[in-house]
């Protein structure tokens, strides 16, 4: 350590930035408990002195339970679908040789680099032709096609020792049993990361939800809150209450599974 000053400055700056990053969330949570006159007061009330639950009561006059169910249901189905499809595909792409393997993997990777939003217009017209707009399957199934999961699982499956698979085969293990009993347990850490990743992305995929949903009961929680934001009469406190419950589940999941989540992000990138 040559100088002691620069670490002090950089530590201080990082703490300051961290506080600035936390502030919006503090503002959401405290705002959710403020009555309208307090929420728009200048100078602002830094902490709600007379907290109220009225905002939550008003918020739940909208179908918030249904929106919450929709968000959970859609994100969970996407999570299960992606994990299943990606682990099967990732395993054979990493551990099997068959004609077309390299081409197929290249196709997946190339598609991953393309911007997802660009396909949303044609995807929408296609789903509209199917009559799938404003349905659960219309919201869920397209997300399973996104190739990131396959890429992640392939990278991870490569670390499985081939001897293990060979040995199981010599013992006369069938392909499905081999996958289920040997490969799947070994893929578990990557699968955990992929599951959380997919769930959070599914919950937060605002653009898809916006264009593929029509009716109020089919809306997701973030989308429902966004429509409240569009109405100018909605009091701030109600919006903040909505903002709080639209994000709290994701923040909780992230905090609980941070380790596995962080591993997933690093696995997909650093080891390339």
């Amino acid at each position: 350590m040559k100088t002691n000053r620069s670490p002090v400055i950089s530590n201080g700056l990082v703490i300051l930035f961290a506080l600035l990053f936390i502030f919006p969330f503090y503002w959401i949570v405290t705002g959710a408990f403020k009555i309208q006159t307090v929420a728009v007061a200048i100078p602002p009330e830094w902490f709600p002195l007379e907290p109220t639950l009225q905002n939550f009561a008003d918020l739940f006059k909208n179908p918030v339970w249904r929106w919450t169910f929709n968000s959970f249901f859609i994100a969970s189905c996407e999570m299960i679908g992606v994990c299943l499809a990606a682990s099967l595909a990732g395993y054979v792409l990493a551990k099997k040789s068959f004609p077309g393997r390299v081409i197929i993997f290249t196709l997946f990777v190339a598609a991953m680099a393309l911007p997802k939003q660009v396909i949303l217009v044609p995807l929408f017209t296609m789903l509209a032709d199917f009559g799938w707009v404003d349905t659960y399957h219309g919201l869920i199934l397209p997300a399973i096609g996104w190739p990131f999961g396959v890429f992640l699982m392939k990278q991870f499956a490569q670390t499985i020792p081939s001897e293990l698979i060979e040995a199981a085969k010599i013992d006369g293990c069938s392909e499905l049993r081999l996958f289920y009993n040997i490969v799947l347990p070994l893929l578990k850490p990557a699968m955990g990361a992929l599951a959380i990743f997919t769930f959070i992305n599914g919950w937060n995929d605002y653009f898809s939800q916006l264009i593929l949903t029509r009716s109020t009961p089919m809306m997701t929680l973030p989308l429902g809150v966004a429509t409240l934001q569009g109405e100018y009469t909605t009091p701030y406190g109600v919006l903040m209450a909505g903002a709080a419950i639209a994000s709290v589940p994701m923040i909780a999941i992230f905090v609980l599974f941070q380790k596995s989540f962080t591993q997933g992000i690093t696995m997909g990138a650093v080891k390339g």
């Binding site: 990082v14 930035f17 969330f25 007061a41 068959f98 393309l114 911007p115 660009v118 044609p122 903002a243």
Partner: protein, 298 residues
């Protein structure tokens, strides 16, 4: 002899078949919901495609866009966002990662988590709170700048500040993943390299330039590429905070795609915008890989 060859062949053939069966779900969903829409997007960009029409018009959509002032403005805004956001995200993330990567596991997780908060939260929550922070009359930002004698500003309503205000929100939602990645790859740099340099009395600037920066190159490449792609596609923040206004000052190509397709109902024109955006992103990604990836091993 012959029968054993046939048996081996049959075995190989069965093995291939199993592999294809394993690939089928992922491949099926991918072809139907990603590959096919991609091709269809290119196809319908040559059509005048609205709710009532579907007429082949050749390159007319593209011609129209390159003469359309709104589109050019959106393109300019998009490029501005990328040019400002990407370097800020990269340098901010490296700064934070450098500061926290040698702290205790507990502190590292804490700070990583804090900077990841905006990325993991719903973009709707983020925009709800920023709309209140930026509010001209009772926003907290004007209250704070008021202490320094500044006049209240309609941050999202004035052409001067609207785009920058959007970029600031975008930056806070973009640094989470880069910080996680930089912390991971800084942790992989052997401490002995840095200690050796310190013994040789290298300055911290020299250590950064000669040791740390080169060792971060593979991570840099990945982060620059994904941050660029994400910045090009910023949509929800804009739709929810400004709807592209004032006077298209914050409209981006992605917002234009949404507006054309889902508010004005012209899918052909929207697809043409999407194709142009994809080509621009593709070219820039290739340049980044060529320029930055020359000494990266994958």
């Amino acid at each position: 002899m012959l029968s054993s060859i046939i048996r081996v062949k049959r075995y190989v053939w069965r093995d291939w078949l199993m592999s294809y069966l394993f690939l089928l779900p992922a491949m099926g969903f991918f072809l139907l919901f990603v590959a096919y829409p991609m091709l269809k997007g290119v196809y319908i960009s040559f059509f005048n495609y609205t709710l009532s029409q579907f007429d082949f018009v050749g390159l007319a959509n593209y011609k129209h866009l390159f003469q359309d002032e709104t589109f050019i403005k959106s393109m300019r805004n998009t490029v501005m966002i990328v040019i400002i956001a990407v370097p800020v995200v990269i340098s901010f993330s490296i700064f934070v990662a450098m500061t926290i990567y040698r702290k205790s596991e507990w502190l590292r997780s804490l700070f990583r988590g804090i900077f990841y908060l905006p990325a993991v939260s719903s973009v709707v929550s983020i925009t709800v709170v920023w709309a209140s922070i930026y509010h001209p009359n009772y926003g907290i930002l004007n209250y704070i700048t008021g202490f320094f004698g500044a006049e209240p500003i309609a941050w999202l309503g004035e052409p001067r500040t609207a785009l920058l205000s959007i970029i600031l929100v975008l930056i806070t939602t973009s640094v989470g993943q880069p910080i996680i990645l930089y912390v991971a790859s800084l942790g992989n740099i052997p401490a002995s390299y840095i200690e050796a340099a310190q013994i040789d009395r290298a300055s911290s600037g020299q250590i950064f330039r000669k040791i740390i920066w080169p060792m971060l190159m593979p991570t840099n490449l990945y982060i620059i590429v994904i941050t660029t792609i994400n910045s090009f596609q910023v949509f929800a923040i804009i739709q929810l905070l400004t709807s592209g206004g004032p006077m298209y000052e914050t409209s981006t190509v992605m917002y234009g795609v949404y507006e054309q397709a889902f508010m004005l109902g012209s899918f052909g024109l929207a697809s043409a915008m999407g194709v142009i955006l994809a080509i621009v992103i593709g070219i820039i990604s290739i340049i980044q890989f060529k320029y930055l990836g020359s000494d990266v091993e994958y």
